[in-house]
Amino acid sequence: MRNRLGSLIAVSALVFAACGSSTTTAAPSVAPPASTAPGTSVASTAPESQAPIPIDITATKYKAEAVGNRGGTLVLGMSGDPSTAWTNIYDTFANDGEAFGPSLWGLWNNTNDLKYYGQLATNVPTVTNKGVVLTGSKMDVTVNMVPGANWSDGQPITCDDVIFMWKWQLDPGQDAAGNVQGKTGYQDISSIDGAGTTTCVIHFSKVYEPFLGLFGPLLPAHYLKTVPVADAIKKLYVDTDLKSAVWSGPYMPTAWAHDAQINYVPNTQFWTTIKKSAAPFDAVTLKLYSNTDTEIAGFVNGEIDAALEFNQNNIAAMGKVAPASIDKVASVTYEQHSWNYASLTKKFGAAGAKALMEALHYAYDKDAINTTITGGAVTPTCNFTNDQAWFNDPNIPCYKHDADKAASVLAAAGFTKGSDGSLSINGTKVELLGCARADRQYRVDTLNLVASQIKPLGIKLTVKAVPPTTVFKGWGLIPADTPCNLTHGNFDVAEFAWVATPDPGSLYTLYSSQFDPSKGDHSGQNYIRVNNPDLDALLAITQTTVDLPTIKDALSKIQKLYVDPANAFPEIALYNWTTVLLKAPTLHNVANNGSASVQTWNLEDWWKDK
């Protein structure tokens, strides 16, 4: 499962695979020097003054083919019932995005190659095109909305909607309603000009770099106003009364039979005022299967034209699917091992932890993980970025698996092997606890495989499978001594996936020492307890500027720090997930999207041969 775009471009950048998105409201700052900081070979922590490299975050290679046939019904398939039509507002379940993303547009979205494009906005504001203007520490963003665009009920889409949604998001009633989009970003807006027009100027009281993730989706003010905020989830976009709801996207839902089907019809207002063409389909049907095996069989059987939301774990079951129908792309979701640097430091000392972490990087045989665990369905990686992310530095090489090097690093640091073959330092045996959620067997298997890979070094890794909530539950919601809880740091290594967004800003909450969950309000996601002033300074750059070359330069340094084993970064990326969809050969313009934008991101362009 992946999270939907809104969250994606939105706000924060990295989210748990299949979980919620991350973010923070804390102000960026450089953390104090760390006692447990892994070393770094990154010499500079400040942006170097050099000629800026032009970066165009809108330069997509996606180009829709002209519609060659109109009419008929498109039947999509997906396993799992969406939870709510309020996609990315009250839930971030990927299925919600697939089902309702095409019905409710945002201001901006991401293409399949992770570029930005305007949905209800005509362009993507940047510093270069003067859409973003910095004034001291403040920031103004100009949003040009599609002129003449209407909601499905014929009401105009204007800055009034932007203004109302901003205030609606900040309404105290949202807390109790469980709004997952949160207030981050919205609370940094001081005012919005342009009421009644289609040119809005959003005034931010501080630089808010991930602003392209806000207002995804944009909600209709006149519809929201009809009920108090606290009642919105119960009275608006109700599953039994979708016809009375207000939509902005190309196809709007008319009926939802849970666990069975959702029906859509073209939103005539969209096609006349936004797309200005005829809808390719007379109707769209989303058939909901309860499991991926049945969905695959349904596709083979011709029940559906496209089957959505698969990953590498489903490929083995696609033996009866014509290879040409299997569309695979590298996902922004990456599987990784989070090593608890604080725990390692406590057990083996600062030098010992650093050497151990460096050795572990070399000891992992990721090719073996790929072939053994995923059947070769993924591409191993050493990095946290997707190749297509605008801030990715493709010139940073991956290190190679080298068991001998791992052994020599450990020996040089004073680790010794006892007569029983176990590794120890200063009398402390290297015995570690690995954690994974019990309902993800492949993670348990991966940890066991890694345990076998590091066993020759004398390292004993005991793998524990626990309920998902045990792994992820927050600070005050679980006893502090619960084994395998990330927040309390009761683990040595844990396997889970992060969903990267096309924006690098959220790395801040993952790797900044400020967000060590043992500190502050315990909401940070720096579970690996990395505490590195140089890294903090680089991460701070992503929070204080919207100058893309500057950010890219900082990210390049962070990537180097992450990838070079000598830096002993306590997170080991294993592989990018593979996002898979099945499509009938008669379908056109299907562009599999490995980001949280979901696979129906461009549904308005899809068409089918007669």
Binding site: T84, A176, G178, H258, F472, D521
Partner: protein
């Protein structure tokens, strides 16, 4: 009999109370909770989580939560005032008598904590699909169980008995999910003869249960029935194959017992044909425990088959239950479990009544 029924009905009240209390307690003891779907989302702050808990009443002591859910307590009340409705009378009374409007006593099962929809509407939409699947399966497996059970008993230790016994044990041993998947692979993926899942053809048939569907079924009844039938075949085969064994063995044992009775020997001595001996004498008596057994299987018509509905994407109660478990959707879970408990208690009562009806020797007077 009437007095017996009334007495039993009154007796169901404490039974259901204890059952609901147990279910409620078990759910609260189980790891996770409605707010857990936000636990992995750091954008939902601790304050927001607390507000969410407050909104759903999860911050209240467990007895109060239960009391509100039942409808004895008024969620707006404070102190002892929780027992008083907004109309000033005991909250447990019906609304038209001045009571409250919350809780199961007032027909309010609350809202799904994951979708916001009312629990009643969610459950209501699932009853008919489950009843159709479970009903067809139950009728078929009862008929087949009777037939095979009688045949096995009459041909005891013969080839037919051996074959039926093997068939029963094989079916009984098959895990439902495995058998279902095998059927899908063979009949949907390889031979492409039958749909892999769902209850209707998404391309040609409107959503089941909607006005459009009933109009469609009215104008093209044969097409609608054939479509439903095609979608029923694989899940029904799965359910029948897996469930026939129990009843078949039960019928076989009852028939053997019956065939050994003196009245059967007497009937044969009197020259009654073997067919009449089997069907009019032995079977009628063997049916007594079988009827009771079948009556106790009736809750299946409501509760559905969790594994089969999940494998075949059948939008019934079993699938709803699994979804609610996945989403920690306690209001929906409570609704399904408590209504199921009511149906089970009712089925037990029905079984007892039927027992008296089919066996004149039994009197509840």
């Amino acid at each position: 009999m009437t007095r017996y029924i009334v007495r039993r009905l009154i007796g169901t009240i404490p039974t259901l109370f204890v059952v609901s209390l147990l279910i409620y307690s078990i759910l609260l003891i189980a790891p996770g909770g409605p707010e857990d779907r936000f636990a992995q989302n750091p954008k939902v702050t601790a304050a927001a989580l607390e507000a969410f808990r407050k909104r759903w009443g999860l911050d209240q002591p467990i007895p109060i939560q239960y009391c509100r859910w039942v409808g004895v307590c008024n969620p707006d009340g404070q102190g002892l005032g929780v027992f008083i409705s907004n109309q000033g009378l005991p909250n447990f009374l019906p609304g038209f008598l001045g009571g409250g409007d919350n809780g199961v006593l007032h027909g309010d099962f609350g809202y799904s904590s994951s979708s916001g929809a009312t629990v009643i509407s969610l459950i209501g939409a699932r009853v008919l699909p489950t009843t159709i699947l479970a009903g067809v399966s139950l009728v078929l497996w009862v008929i087949l169980a009777l037939g095979t059970g009688v045949l096995a008993a009459v041909r005891r230790y013969g080839k037919a008995d051996t074959a039926i016994t093997i068939f029963n044990y094989v079916g009984f041993s098959f895990p439902t999910f495995w058998l279902g998947l095998m059927l899908i692979i063979v009949f949907s993926e390889i031979f492409r003869l039958l749909p892999s899942g769902g209850m209707w053809d998404a391309r040609t048939v409107p959503i089941f249960g909607t006005d459009e569907y009933w109009k469609f079924a009215g104008s093209q009844p044969v097409t609608a029935l054939l479509d439903l039938g095609r979608h029923l075949i694989l899940p029904v085969v799965t359910l029948v194959f897996v469930n026939i064994a129990g009843d078949s063995r039960f019928v076989r044992a009852a028939m053997i017992d019956s065939l050994n009775q003196d009245f059967v020997r007497t009937a044969r001595a009197k020259g009654v044909s073997e067919r009449n001996v089997i069907y009019h004498h032995a079977l009628r008596n063997a049916l007594l425990p079988v009827v009771t057994n079948i009556a106790l299987e009736l809750p299946f018509l409501f509760a559905g088959a969790v594994a089969t509905e999940t494998i075949f994407s059948w939008p019934g109660m079993g699938l709803a239950y699994i979804q609610a478990v996945d989403n920690f959707d306690y209001p929906v879970l409570m609704g399904i479990l408590v209504i199921t408990a009511v149906v089970v208690v009712a089925a037990n009562l029905l079984a007892d009544i039927l027992y008296a009806v089919v066996d004149p020797r039994i009197s509840y007077g």
